[in-house]
């Protein structure tokens, strides 16, 4: 447990055998490892490492932390590395996890960018990338579908209208993101407040 945050009203089923906070090097290495394993997204590997493997957080703590990072702007998993590292070891821990998550893949990506800039015109690479692009879009559709399932099951019309509205505004009409969110966020918060307040 983090020493500087008093756990507020936690369930009694938290496993007693929770590991002591890891050192900065261990944090860096753990996030580097989950990042390098994370083809097509790091979340799955992050949860596995933090909750199952190292037992640095309970499943509930992880969910709370990720939820926070999801509703803040920016790349979720990058935010998660900073927040998680900071909870365990202060700001230095946050920086260690952040660097571990980003440094190795950034180096790999830079090498790939150099290769692409040099050989991007080679027809074979282009064709292979075209196939990978199609599959990558398919994966994205699958993720969106999985995330949509809870909303579809609840059949909350207002929520579905908001979702489709954003989809049409950005995906079909191609309006700028900031303008759409400037309208959609207050509307959605207002609607949620009214529905939840009943």
């Amino acid at each position: 447990m983090s020493p500087d945050s008093a756990p507020a009203a936690h369930e009694p089923d938290i496993p007693a055998a929770q590991a002591p906070p890891p050192g900065l090097v261990a944090l860096f290495l753990a996030f580097a490892r989950m990042s390098l394993a994370g083809f097509g997204g790091v979340l799955v590997f992050a949860r596995h490492a933090i909750v199952d493997q190292h037992r640095w957080m309970s499943a509930d703590e992880f969910n709370e932390t990720f939820a926070l990072c999801h509703f803040l702007p920016g790349p979720n998993i990058v935010n998660l590395s900073m927040v998680f590292g900071a909870r365990l070891r202060g700001i230095a821990g946050g920086v260690a996890a952040f660097a571990g998550l980003l440094l190795p893949p950034t180096l790999i990506m830079t090498v790939l960018a150099i290769i692409y800039a040099r050989f991007g015109d080679v027809d074979v690479l282009r064709r292979s990338l075209a196939g990978i692009s199609c599959a990558a879009v398919g994966l994205l559709i699958a993720v969106v579908f999985r995330m949509m399932m809870p909303l579809l099951k609840r059949m909350d019309i207002v929520v579905l209208i908001l979702m489709v509205g954003v989809l049409v505004a950005i995906g079909v009409l191609r309006l700028p993101l900031q303008a759409v969110l400037l309208v959609a966020i207050p509307v959605s918060i207002g609607v949620t407040f009214l529905i939840g307040g009943r």
């Binding site: 083809f39 097509g40 926070l68 990072c69 999801h70 509703f71 702007p73 920016g74 790349p75 979720n76 998993i77 990058v78 935010n79 590395s81 900073m82 900071a86 909870r87 952040f98 980003l102 893949p105 950034t106 790999i108 990506m109 830079t110 150099i114 991007g120 282009r126 292979s128 075209a130 196939g131 990978i132 692009s133 199609c134 599959a135 990558a136 879009v137 398919g138 994966l139 699958a142 993720v143 969106v144 579908f145 999985r146 995330m147 949509m148 909303l151 908001l162 489709v164 954003v166 989809l167 950005i170 995906g171 079909v172 191609r174 993101l177 966020i185 959605s188 949620t192 407040f193 939840g196």
Partner: protein
Amino acid sequence: MNAENPIWALISTFGLMSLFAVGGAAAAVPEMHRIAVEVHHWMTDKQFADAYAIAQLSPGPNVLIVTLIGYAVAGIPGALAATLAMCLPTALLAYYVSRLLNRPGQSRWPGLIQAALVPLSIGLMAASALILAQSTDRTVAALLLTAVVAVVASISRINPLWLLLAGGLLGFAGIV
């Protein structure tokens, strides 16, 4: 393109974009496309689709497509500048907000706001998928591949890497 320092253009563009990228990197892809291809002409449509594919194929957070955009604009310094500009400000913001909220006796507003953002972020992700599908799926075979991957990944727990590899092989063979 412009006379200004391209590094500064990258930092201001992605630093600002990250603050509005609610719902993660995938939600920001349409905006990245708009800025990099349509506004600044840093990349062609094809280069952007390739960059997205490379970012998906390589390990690490998918947000690192910005590393490729940064490299296309200003080489290695551009790659590093774009990556840090996209990731660091919001990570620090998350750190401070988390400290602020991680106290006992908080109100119900954090949960309420989060619930309100869920449909918006899913809508954004769906828009990303639509825009990318329009720029990559130019043939029937390509559309079919995307559809099959979408279905397989939705109903099975297969490692996504295999599906990307299969797409690469089909492309290599000249089928899509």
